[in-house]
Amino acid sequence: MKNLINQKIEDALNSAQAIGRAEPSHFLFTKIEAKLDKEKAGPWNRFWTYLTNPAIAFAGLCILLLINALIIFGVNSRQSPQIVELATVDEYNLVSSTYELDNLNP
């Protein structure tokens, strides 16, 4: 049994000599030329191709929305103290007018 396995191992190792040549695609050069021409098309073309990649476009859209959200919430939080301030002024006027009414009578 051991001899049989050893023989099989040697046969397998020697089969490397029997592995013939595989042929690549007949259109290999055409494909290479196409890739070379694409790369030569220029940096702007490559940049545009990169930008229109769905994953990149989606990521860019998310960043844009995030910036918009930050600006909107930033503006809203600046407005709030003014409203509080106006409310305080209203309150003050109310208190003041009550005081005036009370002090009308001698």
Binding site: K8, S15, A18, R21, A22, P24, L28, F29, K31, L36
Partner: protein, 186 residues
């Protein structure tokens, strides 16, 4: 020829591809054991050759430089594929609906004769398990029939280092083949 390549002469490009496509494709195919990947990497090898021809210093033979690029691209591809598999596996842990893509278990080399199919399949399976450098050296020596000296120039190793690498490759192959045949007979 190198001068014409530097001038981006398309006819010379065609000549280079026609002359060396067999050597490049078979080297890449035997390392990657995947026909589709081998086609892509072969294209990348020639593109790299044409784009970096200015960097070819003519200190070594053109074929040595070509093989060096082929080996380097093949190894890069295998490493990229390994990390993609790892990432896909991690993604599948979080997403039950995503199915892991399973690679075909057995690669059938298109150049194998029918009568040697079983032995070659066993050898290629064992070859897959070798460390990259041992695998590369074995492919270049046994399948591309390159000398130790040529392999040394391609892999930037001394002749004795190549000899040592091939001996370790052979030992490991015997071990993997032994396990394979013992399991088959069990």
């Amino acid at each position: 020829m190198v001068a014409l390549l530097r001038q981006e002469d398309r006819e010379t490009y065609r000549y280079v591809v026609d002359t060396w496509k067999g050597a490049v494709y078979n080297t890449v195919l035997n390392v990657l054991q995947n026909e589709s990947d081998a086609e892509d990497v072969t294209q990348d090898v020639f593109i790299q050759v044409f784009e970096s021809i200015e960097g070819f210093k003519e200190e070594s033979k053109f074929s040595t430089w070509l093989y060096r690029i082929a080996v380097s691209k093949s190894i890069d591809h295998l490493r990229r594929k390994k990390s993609q598999k790892r990432f896909a596996f991690l993604r599948s842990l979080w997403n039950d609906h995503e199915e892991l893509q399973i690679e075909p278990v057995e690669f059938v080399h298109p150049g194998v004769k029918l009568e040697e199919k079983e032995n070659a399949a066993a050898l290629l399976k064992a070859l897959e398990k070798l460390p990259l450098r041992q695998k590369t050296a074995f492919v270049l020596n046994k399948m591309e029939k390159l000398s130790y000296r040529e392999i040394g120039e391609i892999m930037n190793l001394s002749v004795s280092a190549v000899d040592s690498l091939l001996q370790r490759a052979r030992q490991n192959l015997k071990l993997h083949l032994k396990n394979y045949f013992e399991q088959l007979n069990a």
